[in-house]
Symmetry: C2
């Protein structure tokens, strides 16, 4: 599964900007792939990029129409179908993050069959994976893990990719969630995989690579989240990380959606090391990434300095202060890290 | 999902006894539900129960035809279809452990729709679960865990049910795998569930119960198996066990299907306690169940005695020596365990 850029971003007629969160994430991280947006009358979201018709997008070389919006219930409204069919007829693939599968609409399925185009339903996984093998693969790998869900794991991995590439390092973001798949054009939503194949899917997502290449793997959930720890465990075993970054949101007291108390960063480091050693005995913590949005600037700096002293690891807020300190340590700890041979 | 007994066991024309392993397991543990077997010409398996036609089974009150055999590739041969349709026309539900879904055969789907019968594809999960909540449910729970896959977890849970019921204790086996689902008439193959819902599915499999009732939950995989630890982790969190039994096969050096070394029993106890405390802080090991088939009688007894001394826990081979010592400790440690109000 490879979603081919460049993209035309289809926003339908969603009612607010939040409904276009996935599309916005793609524009934030892959602006160069997003040549335009297509909005229906009364659309209340705006990605701040050029409005464009299907014909206009085709003229610009667009290869894929991205349905990167969330409707109530994740359904695909009937009145969006004609735009999607038009894109297919213009030679585009279509990728959607909706719950409704694109091919469940007969007009869309028929058009894709007729024109030989691919439909990607990123929220679903029709792929067949092998079970995980646990054999150590060549290449360096970093996994972002969390004290909870939604603690900045995707953002941190993407920020690391950006900073590492800016320093000429050979690194690729590896997606394990829906938005990440659109951003990288590859990967799969790991929580949608059949349970038996979690670690096997991750072995596919971050396959054998050059010995000095870094895969920066997006974590999911938390080993301490009673709903999703199974996913986090399989992801850890499949990722075989050499290094991990703990992502944390300091104002939460219970984990998202449940009454379970938040674990400490020390707990997360300890259990990640304990379980991660199964498939990579060399696993080490690299640093801590904190979402300090709820803290003032001085307070945030003090909080991060205290954490850094406590754990003997760099601590930063990737949004506020960047991930430079994490990459500094990565380069120091892994001097073998490869340089980019290509333009990133 | 509730598969209603009594059962007629359909063996088709499988080529050997091993292909009827699931059916044999059902007869071993639920002989009273298995009123007969139906075999096609050239069938090489035999469950040692009465051969019976659909009409004969109907006369005996059979409610479900069980397709409990494994063919090459798990496919449903076309020439089995007419028997299945005949069972449906006679008013039976049909439950299958094959990979091919029953409803994918148009004649079977049509017959089930026409006669209002239910088709169970035990290997698949079309059920919708909530995500796990982690809230402590009333009732006592025991989980069998393993140093590896196929280490006796199902057998141990079933043997505990039998022994506990024989002592008048209120206990139910809870299935998390295909054979177990046929044996208990309920449950689901947890490894076929979408990853996000592993612990939620287990919360459904072993729901809130009387405070003194025991659920004996069939474990899967191992927290140390690089292919399946995600399943084991979600199962542990969803099961919220008060007690667990470690199942072990002493002659293995690597885990099934991979090159990973077998963990020690101490490792398994330690990590199970560590992770299990997330959803049940009272979790404790109850004992050790060993498959000593490869050892002589005296050697097996010495091995178990040594284990018992080392861990301060009862150790037994459930097949060779029964699970009496485990139930002795359970009754001693949990004097509140409820008595059967019904005939088990």
């Amino acid at each position: 599964m490879q979603i081919n850029p460049p993209y035309l971003m289809f926003l339908g007629d969603v009612h607010d900007q939040l409904a276009a969160k996935t599309a916005q994430g793609i524009v934030d991280w892959r602006a160069e792939w997003c040549v335009g947006q297509l909005r229906l009358p009364n659309c209340k979201a705006d990605l701040g990029i050029a409005d464009m018709t299907i014909a206009g997008a085709k003229a610009k070389g667009v290869k894929t129409l991205i349905v990167g919006v969330a409707n109530a219930g994740g359904v695909l409204p009937d009145h969006w179908t004609s735009v999607i069919v038009e894109a297919i007829e213009a030679g585009m693939d279509v990728a959607s993050g909706l719950h409704t599968k694109l091919g469940s609409k007969p007009e869309i399925a028929a058009a894709a069959a007729k024109h030989g185009r691919t439909l990607f339903d990123v929220r679903h996984s029709d792929m067949t994976f092998a079970t995980g093998k646990g054999d150590k693969r060549p290449g360096l790998r970093l996994l972002t893990v969390g004290t909870d869900c939604s603690a900045g794991k995707k953002y941190t991995a993407l920020a690391l990719e950006k900073e590492m590439r800016a320093r000429g390092l050979d690194a690729d973001f590896r997606a394990t969630g829906q938005t990440g798949v659109f951003i990288s054009g590859r990967g799969c939503a790991i929580d949608a995989v059949v349970a038996d194949f979690i670690s096997g899917a991750v072995e596919w997502i971050a396959p054998a690579a050059d010995a000095n290449h870094w895969d920066l793997i997006e974590g999911q959930g938390s080993l301490f989240h009673p709903s999703f720890a199974g996913v986090s465990m399989g992801l850890l075993h499949g990722a075989q990380p050499d290094a991990f970054v703990v992502c944390h949101e300091p104002t939460r007291t219970t984990m998202r959606g449940v009454k379970t108390p938040l674990p400490s960063i020390a707990d997360v480091i300890d259990l990640t090391l304990r379980c991660g050693k199964l498939t990579n005995p060399a696993i080490k913590p690299l640093g801590i990434a904190v979402n300090t949005k709820a803290l003032g600037e001085a307070e945030a700096k003090k909080y991060l300095a205290d954490l850094s002293a406590e754990y003997g690891l760099p601590a930063t807020d990737p949004i506020r202060f960047g991930v430079g300190v994490l990459v500094d340590k990565l380069v120091a700890d892994y001097p073998q890290s490869g340089k980019l041979a290509r333009v990133g």
